[in-house]
């Protein structure tokens, strides 16, 4: 899938330093692609390369068949010749211009006599009618963000780049702006690249996630797929999956279709993943919604599925949710992270030091190639060895 074959944006960037880049991605017209990764992973640098604000050592950027960058053939269009709309993290509105003047400043291709009317129409679209003549300092964070969006759209761009556009507004405004972005997307059929380090925001707004680490694209796909089927342990950690462990494949069964693995706490039945031969060392992950707490008052049907007993080591109340860490019985180095509604925790008397039992659903356990080193900078714990 490349830019030449279809409308949309495609790019390939390589750079050794100062910000390393080894990114390859594409975004179709009408699609929202979220770039997700920790600070310094190169998210904003990729946006800057697309906009022409940063020249990578080598690479190409194509949009709707137009070549914006091709280092092999010496093509590198300046930002003003790439029709992109960009919303900066702090909006970068011109403080000496009113809202409408900010929008008009990007209408370089529109005849001067039409600019004011068109800018007012754009501001109305982002629900800012009546505030056209205000300077940015007199607008709220959410209103400034809307002016920035209107200014980005004023060029009639081929692609829209959003660099953490929601990071500077409060939670309520953020939710409102999320809805407005979804609304805008229906009206403007163009590739939208959203940079964020808020995984929930990315999963909610984007059609696809692209996970970045040290400038390299590790995995891209629909949010649910990336979150439930990470390509490797690093991606699992970057999408905040905490239950990553090591194991060894023991058997591949045809009927019922299962893969058996062994980890320090015993054997586990796993959704069949035949690409891992018996004897292969693997990393495996189980998303929190695939860990079922056994009820104390009465047993349930799922309890026979990969039961794991242990003791609650930590218990944290986060609003209506309880976040607990369980030490697997006899193995304090094996820590399972669980979340559950507060009433479930109360009913099952979940508290520090209490013994509990959970089931790991076979369907939710995902195997990944074993990696000798697990980078610590992803901010997660090391998987427990076998």
């Amino acid at each position: 899938m490349t830019g030449e074959q279809r409308s949309g944006l495609s790019l390939q960037l390589q750079q050794a330093g100062p910000i390393p880049l080894a990114a390859k991605l594409d975004c179709a017209a009408g699609e929202i692609l979220a770039l997700v990764g920790p600070s310094g992973s190169g998210k904003s640098s990729i946006l800057r390369c697309i906009a022409g604000l940063l020249r990578p050592q080598s690479g190409s950027v194509r949009c709707n068949g137009e070549i914006w960058l091709d280092t092999v053939n010496g093509v590198d269009l300046p930002p003003r010749r790439r029709r992109v709309g960009m919303v900066f993290q702090n909006y970068a509105l011109f403080p000496h211009m009113s809202a409408v003047e900010n929008v008009m400043s990007a209408m370089t291709d529109v005849p001067p006599e039409q600019r004011l009317d068109q800018a007012r129409v754009l501001l109305r679209r982002v629900h800012l009618d009546g505030l056209e003549d205000r300077r940015p300092a007199l607008l709220s964070g959410g209103q400034q963000q809307r002016v920035a969006v209107a200014r980005a759209l004023a060029r009639d761009p081929m692609a829209l780049l959003l660099d953490e556009p929601f990071s500077a507004v409060d939670q309520v405004t953020r939710r409102k702006l999320h809805r407005e972005l979804a609304d805008l997307r229906r009206q403007w059929h163009m590739p939208v690249i959203l940079v964020t380090h808020d995984l929930n925001e990315a999963a909610m707004l984007a059609d696809r996630l692209c996970i970045l680490h040290r400038g390299a694209t590790l995995q891209s796909g629909p949010p649910q797929e990336v979150k439930s089927r990470p390509r490797n342990a690093l991606v699992a950690r970057l999408v905040d999956l905490q239950n990553v462990f090591e194991g060894v494949v023991r058997e591949q069964r045809e009927s019922p279709p299962l893969t058996l693995i062994e980890w320090p706490a015993g054997r586990l039945e796993v959704r069949r993943q035949p690409e891992f031969a018996a004897g292969t060392r693997v990393h495996w992950v189980v998303p929190p919604d695939n860990i079922i707490l056994h009820r104390r008052d009465r047993p349930s049907r799922g309890e026979r599925e990969n039961p794991v007993a242990g003791v609650v080591a930590e218990c944290l109340t986060l609003g209506e949710q309880i976040s607990a860490v369980m030490h697997v019985a006899g193995r304090a180095d094996l820590r399972l992270h669980l979340t559950m509604p507060a009433h479930v925790a109360r009913r099952n008397r979940i508290g520090e030091g209490e013994p509990i039992c959970v089931s790991l659903l076979a369907e939710g356990i995902h195997l990944m190639p074993w990696q000798p080193q697990t980078p610590k900078d992803a901010g997660a714990e090391e998987p427990a060895g076998i």
């Binding site: 300046p78 930002p79 900066f88 970068a92 011109f94 000496h96 300077r135 200014r151 004023a154 060029r155």
Partner: protein
């Protein structure tokens, strides 16, 4: 009152502002936004006239502009008259001793424009010239005004360098500051008094204009 000296001072100040401001603005942009080897050295050199005794700076300029130095020799061959003790020589000296009054205020003002804002202007499709005119100039106007006023006022009052490089040739190099000195030497206290008072008033007005102008421009962004 030596009107000829006042007129010459105003002429010198005006020409210094006209020549130094655009050149200083280009230099200030480079210093504000680019990182390069030797940047600190350039900044230190620009500030040197602030701490150097005017007679020392004047002496070196006198030597550099003299007929035995390449610059002075070249100028004399080209124009037919020496650079020292001429208005042109005075203007060159004025450009140099005003560097620390012109460049740093503009540099500081430009440094306050976030990089993101200049990048946003580029992404908006503006050409480099339009970015300069529509974004950089209005946002750095405060510093440019300060630079202009300081340069103008400082040129009016400069004494040591002007005396060393220009001497005191009526109508050519005798500025109002030199005229005051001459009048004091000649015990003409009345003339010295009136010229000193005028210089004091002009300098005070210049500083007030810079402050009011700067305050107005920064308030305008908040309205």
């Amino acid at each position: 009152m030596d009107w000829q000296a006042l007129s010459l001072s105003l002429k010198l100040s005006t020409w210094t502002v006209i020549v130094l401001l655009p050149a200083g603005l280009l230099l200030a942009r480079e210093l504000a936004w680019r990182r390069f080897r030797g940047k600190n050295l350039i900044e230190a050199t620009l500030s040197l006239p602030l701490v150097l005794p005017p007679t020392v700076l004047g002496y070196y300029l006198l030597v550099a502009m003299g007929g035995n130095a390449p610059v002075g020799r070249w100028y004399q061959q080209w124009s037919g008259h020496p650079l020292v003790f001429s208005f042109e020589g005075l203007l060159i000296a004025s450009l140099i001793f005003n560097m620390p009054f012109a460049v740093p205020p503009m540099q500081r003002a430009l440094e306050t424009i976030p990089k993101e804002m200049r990048e946003a202007a580029a992404v908006c499709g503006l050409s480099p010239w339009r970015i300069f005119r529509l974004v950089e100039l209005p946002l750095a106007w405060n510093g440019i005004l300060t630079a202009a006023v300081l340069t103008f006022a400082h040129t009016l009052g400069e004494f040591g360098v002007v005396l060393m490089v220009g001497g005191s040739i009526p109508g050519e190099t005798r500025t109002i500051a030199i005229a005051i000195y001459d009048r004091v030497q000649a015990f003409d206290r009345d003339a010295a008094n009136s010229m000193a008072a005028l210089l004091l008033a002009l300098s005070f007005v210049a500083i007030v204009v810079a402050q009011l102008g700067g305050g107005y421009l920064s308030r305008r962004h908040d309205r």
